[in-house]
Every structure is written in C-alpha cells, then in structure tokens.
Symmetry: C2
Subunit: 206 residues, 2 copies
DNA sequence: GGTTACATACCAACTGGTTGGTATGCTCGT
DNA sequence: ACGAGCATACCAACCAGTTGGTATGTAACC
C-alpha cells in the first residue's frame, strides 16, 4: 500500500505477527511477544500502530498481498487450460503440506475463529480476505465449468468456497494431530470430487 | 463420568464454558466471564476446578458426551441401512445450521486452533474428541462401503475425516460471514460427493 | 554555513486496569 | 463438630497502552 508499509520495523512486526498469531492465536499473543519476535521495542510498535487490533488488521492485509503473490507466481497459474489451473492449485496446496504445521496454516482461519464475536473489524477483514481468495479461484473454476461442464447444476463460486472449507478444516485436523496426514487424504478426496465435476485433467473436453 | 460431574455448580460452569469459549475463544475467556455466565462465584469455580485449563479439559469431555448423545438419539441413527445413516447424518448436520452461528459451531475446532501450540493437553483432548466422533461416523461409512462399494479405492476412515473437515471449514466461513449460507452449499457438495462414492440413498444396492 | 524548527523513528520506564489464582471465613446438612 | 460448598477480599503477575525523552534527518530561512 502506502510507501510507509515498506518501512523495516513495520514489516518486521507484520511478519512476526503472521507467525506468532498463527501459533498462539490473537488473544494469547501479547504486544511484547510480537516486539520480541520482531526485534523492536514497544515504543516502536505503538509508533507504527495505533493499537494491537489495528496492527492485526494490517497484518491480514499484509498476509493477503503476500499469499496472493505466491499463488499468482506459482507455475500452475500460467497453465493455458483453466481446468489445469484448478487442479494445479490443488496440487500446489498439497505440496505446501510438506512444510511444518505453523507454516502452512491460514492466518485468517485462525483469527476469525476467536475474534468473530468480539472484534467485528477483524472478522470483516478475514471475511474480505478469504472471499477475495475464493473469487480468484472462482474465475478459473468458472472458465473450466464453461469448457468442460457447461450444463452443471453447481456454481463455480460454491465450488470455490467448498475447496477453501476443505482446506480450512484440514488445517484444524493438522493442528489437532500435529500432522498433515489427514489433510493429504482430504485433498485426495477433494481432487476426486472435482474430477467428477470437471473431468480428469488428462481427459479431453466434453 | 464421576458422580461429582453431576453437581449443579460444576455443570453450570461447564455449560457456560461451552457457550462462552465457542464465542470468544479460550484465551479471551476469563474465569470471571465464566463465573458470571454460570452464576457462580470465583470461589466456587476454584473449588470445583484446579485451574482454568483443567476446567476446559473437562468442558471438552462434557461437550463430547453431550454431542455423542445428541447424534446417538437422532432419528437417522436408527435407520436400518448404513448408507441411510450416513446421509441421515449429513441431513441432520444441515438442519443444525438453522440455529445461530454460536450454537452450531464446534467447541473443539475453536479450541484447538488457538491452543495447539501452547496447551498440549487441550490439543490432545480435542484430537481425541474429534477422532472419536470420526470413528463413530466411520463405522456407518464402512458398513455402507461394504454394502454399496466393496471395491472402493478409498477407506471409510478417510471419508469420515473428510466429512468432518468440510464441517469444520464450513464453521469458519459461517463465523466470517455471520451466515450459514456457505455451510449449506458445502454440505450440498459433500452430499453429491458421497453419492458418487456410495450411490444415492434411494438407489438399490450394487 | 549555520541556526532554527519540525518530523520521523525509536527507546526505557511507567501506569492503571485486568487476570488467574489464593486465603480465609461463613453456612448448612449430616 | 466437621467437611463440602460457597462467598468475599485480596494478591502478584501481567498486559495494552502512555509518557517523556533522545537521535537523526531535513527543509527553510538569513
């Protein structure tokens, strides 16, 4: 966003927030935790952010530009066929599971669970972020639907939300079991379902 | 569990915990919040529970016996055909979505997100609880698989986890959007997928 | 070139309110 | 009279946010 956003200390705090909040949650993360992780002082923190909540709102925005960049730059994103992009997305997310649990889980999914009733602005930011990610995904799904299942009874958007829900739910089990095994199995089921909707990516159109 | 568990104040605290923790999360829920919601004093709270964490562990156990009872008593549970029980479960969960968001979301899904890295005992309790619910569901799925898809490439257990992940992910979107609409759409997709695995419940076997 | 004025970035110490938990004593059934 | 259950007052630790100050840069003015 603003040139300000590039400032070193500011960035370090936002980066630290994505890690610490994902690991401990919002309420349990103290400003001191963040400062220690970012290597800045409390004075610096409150110089850059009016409050802890305002900071986390910017952390969500920071997270979204960061992840949007990752998915846009991924190899699958430049596939010519939209269905290949959809399945490429699934494979890409499956490969992300090779990282550790705190690394592949979602900041917004974690945040919204504990803040939806108490911090309306955070809830709204998570809603916007998750929905915009779904919208990006939905574009490819809709293109694939028009090409491979034009008479389908389902909407592309509902499939986009379904994919995200499977991912978010998988993260919960990954945390509970400290293992990505269930998440991997879930992605396999999800792929099979999408193949039933769009056909397998190595089949021909129609 | 023990006859102790039936004690009035104890029960009121555990009931309050399921509501308040689901709404505000574990860290943001104070012992005073719980006491106020339960209508007991702090002295009573710490008479019955050694600590906030020990209380939440019992709240998880309390939650599991409560929900297990609900699902066991639901009409679908006594269907003769295992496939009917599986789809009955899906319909039952869909109907639960008519309640408010705080009412149909899952205590353990909320809890584990923010505690998995900081409160190992809570994480383990959530894992046990969620896995045992999956295990109950898996029994019906396995019976349906043997009857309707004996040569299937998938395991009943992995389908059980998939169903739960879709539900948990749906809860996240319900919280983010303060609406169950996405959750309903997700359950429709889930049903379609299960029909592709087991056949539609009004079809004949094989 | 030097001085004033001001803005940004940062820091350590502090504050006032909150929190989980404790200490102590009251009450009531047996 | 004795212990289970409960109530009240309290405490030390902790927390978000404040304060007052320093260091650095920089733009303007003479």
């Amino acid at each position: 966003m603003t040139p300000q956003a590039l400032h070193q200390s500011r960035l370090k705090i936002l980066d630290a927030a994505t890690d610490v909040v994902r690991a401990k949650g919002y309420a349990a993360t103290t400003v001191d935790d963040l400062c220690a992780a970012a290597g800045v002082t409390k004075g610096s923190f409150f110089h850059h952010f009016k409050s802890k909540e305002e900071m986390v709102l910017e952390a969500v925005a920071h997270w979204n530009t960061w992840t949007d960049g990752i998915f846009a730059a991924a190899p699958y994103a430049s596939a010519a066929d939209p269905r290949d992009r959809v399945f490429g997305y699934l494979d890409f997310r499956r490969d992300l599971l090779d990282h550790t649990v705190p690394q592949f889980t979602c900041l917004m999914g974690t945040l919204v669970q504990e803040t939806y009733a108490t911090h309306p602005a955070v809830r709204a930011a998570c809603d916007r972020g998750m929905s915009s990610h779904v919208a990006i995904l939905t574009r490819d799904i809709e293109a694939a639907r028009l090409k491979y299942a034009p008479d389908a009874a389902w909407t592309a958007e509902s499939v986009g939300y379904f994919i995200q829900a499977v991912l978010q739910g998988s993260f919960i089990f990954a945390k509970a079991k400290e293992s990505a095994a269930v998440a991997r199995g879930n992605l396999a089921h999800l792929r099979r379902y999408l193949e039933s909707l769009l056909g397998s990516p190595d089949q021909n159109p129609r």
